[in-house]
Symmetry: C2
Subunit: 378 residues, 2 copies
């Protein structure tokens, strides 16, 4: 409590404060690169799969062929949610935000585990990763289409399973790969607000599901995971490049916040953005929605010219998800699907050298007020 | 990323780091006092009620007679959980940790709210505060005693409601007051791990229930809310003062951690401990379990002599809860009941001058590893 007011202000939002050691992700270094366990995001997006990346984050090393095969088999073992989970999902109303549905669904899924505190988080994360798509899409179809969908799929990847359950048919290889790349890019990002929430919960020695549920709650906010949904609404609302230019200039004139731009960590550009932008272009052209990509690109140009802000991962991801036929309300739940890999790795790492995360506040209220009995209060 | 290794280590667990301004709670100041909105914990425990304190934390001022009456009436309006919530609670297995049951129950309760993002957190906290006891005790009796209890009570306080639902009859005034005091003492405690979790989630502009559910998850850990359950098991296991002395000395010799002692914020003593200790003595004597109090007191003496550590609030609270006939597994859920008042105040305060809470990590892993294709990995 001895920091001066000036020092205190520097800590608002913990901006620039180092909160612990980690060997999972490097971002915001001098060269503005993004590394998962030392591997560049460009290499991983070009050559690996989400399953490979998820294994990498949990183990610190890329899997060999046998390990990857075993992991994928494990991920295929737990595909159907239990009858109890289905019952709970059916109780969650249609008006519920899908992120809040996931919060309850994951929490209840954890309730079914016999001893989550003494089970290897690697095992729990496998079970959860493979349950997330069936969980969200069962509920989605039940509430939106009043249909109890079948949960068996032919797809052999998490990305493919999601798209097959959403559309009721196997996705094209291009669509499956596009979502796979998005999942890789969203899988991990150092001490962002949701991951830091996961670590704070883990630091009390709480269980895996409590930590993940906290991460979902943090990701739900419009300043975090909600940005891609907001970006999509903006792009759709603009509809054309010229309209976009006019709209953005007007919004900037009114000092409105444009989501999907800038990042607290990257000052010269989000290295994930060029990767997802290529996919956005490819998918928009293939699905005859080039105007959406062009609209997005014009917004990017205006933001760079006017505010010197670059798009972050959320901005062009919105176009990718839209072209994959994913309803906008499910954009942030997909972020959960991907980030569960990173959260699980951070939960595990926090427990290896744990110290309770417990900062202080700077008190600015009144002190030592005399207590007035109820009868004498005006 | 420019802090040296030495500075970085100082930030592990954010110990001593000020993470923001607050006017809710002052603790750990020079005089080792604890103030809620400027009022001393001694005055509040002696003269107010938990409802009054909960109002104080949310409004920054003590309520007058009319305001308190209105608040208590509001708290009495929402007493019965909905049929949907009951259905979900019945799905949660007997083996589930009651904290994990609350995590799901509160999350689902939030799912039933039409628009939690645009509803005043004061209103949501009222609804939640009054639902917590029915929620946990319905499930508790359903699983432990295979009984669907009636949820109407004659009690007019949150403490009384909890005890009446637990025991199936109205509590004595002494018992009701003892729990009320415990709820006051547990209501708020600055930027502890669970409250800081609530604020981190709130800082993404996420909704009230996501933040509270995160708080529950953090509180569940044995380094945080779980300490009082652990303390009770130790006191019961010792059973007598002499046995306690022997056991504690043995445990210290084996360098085992004794829960319920010391505090990161208080260096010379937790001001809540003397207050709850008096109640522990009174209740233990009244219920003919003086040996438990004496056992606890001997543990206190040994810890002070051997480790210069004082008991924190959790230690004697364990004796109080036990003497009120509360099963040990419900000690931490009671902590939730109390702390929901403080969490709600912090959620609200975080949103008044919000800044995203997003620290950095100190990267200690490998950098720029060449990517090896799957086929070539050994």
């Amino acid at each position: 409590m001895t920091l001066t007011k000036q020092q205190d202000e520097a800590h608002a939002g913990l901006a620039g404060v180092i909160a612990g050691d980690s060997s999972i992700c490097l971002c915001g270094a001098e060269d503005e690169s993004l590394l998962y366990c030392g591997y560049s995001i460009e290499d991983l997006a070009a050559s690996s799969s989400f399953e490979e990346v998820s294994w990498l984050l949990l183990h610190g090393e890329l899997p060999n062929k046998k390990e990857l095969e075993k992991y994928k088999n494990a991920l295929n073992q737990h595909k159907s949610p239990s009858a109890a989970l289905i019952k709970v999902l059916e109780q969650i109303p249609e008006h519920t935000n899908p992120m809040d549905m996931l919060r309850t669904g994951i929490s209840f899924f954890g309730n079914l585990e016999k001893d989550p505190e003494h089970t290897d988080p690697k095992e729990l994360s496998e079970k959860l990763l493979v349950t997330l798509s069936p969980m969200m899409l069962y509920w989605w179809h039940f509430q939106q289409n009043k249909a109890r969908i079948k949960l068996n799929v032919s797809a052999h990847s998490i990305a493919g399973t999601f798209l097959e359950l959403l559309h009721g048919k196997p996705p094209s290889p291009m669509h499956s790969q596009a979502l796979d790349v998005a999942l890789i890019l969203y899988a991990e990002h150092e001490f962002n607000a949701s991951t830091f929430t996961v670590r704070t919960i883990a630091s009390t020695l709480s269980d895996y599901f409590s930590a993940i549920v906290g991460g979902v709650g943090a990701l739900r906010g419009s300043l975090h995971g909600g940005a891609n949904e907001w970006a999509m609404k903006l792009i759709e609302q603009c509809g054309s490049p010229d309209k976009a230019e006019k709209t953005i200039l007007e919004m900037l004139g009114q000092k409105k916040l444009i989501m999907g731009f800038g990042h607290r960590v990257y000052k010269r550009g989000d290295p994930r953005s060029p990767i997802i932008k290529k996919w956005a272009k490819k998918l928009a052209e293939a699905s005859g929605e080039s105007h959406l990509f062009e609209t997005a690109e014009r917004i990017e140009q205006v933001m760079l010219k006017e505010k010197k802000l670059f798009p972050n991962l959320d901005f062009y991801s919105a176009v990718v998800f839209h072209c994959l036929g994913i309803p906008t309300d499910l954009f942030t739940p997909i972020f959960v699907l991907a980030r569960t890999a990173g959260w699980s790795a951070h939960y595990q790492e926090q427990h290896t050298h744990n110290k309770l995360i417990r900062p202080l506040s700077h008190y600015i209220g009144p002190t030592h007020r005399p207590y007035i009995p109820l009868e004498k209060r005006s």
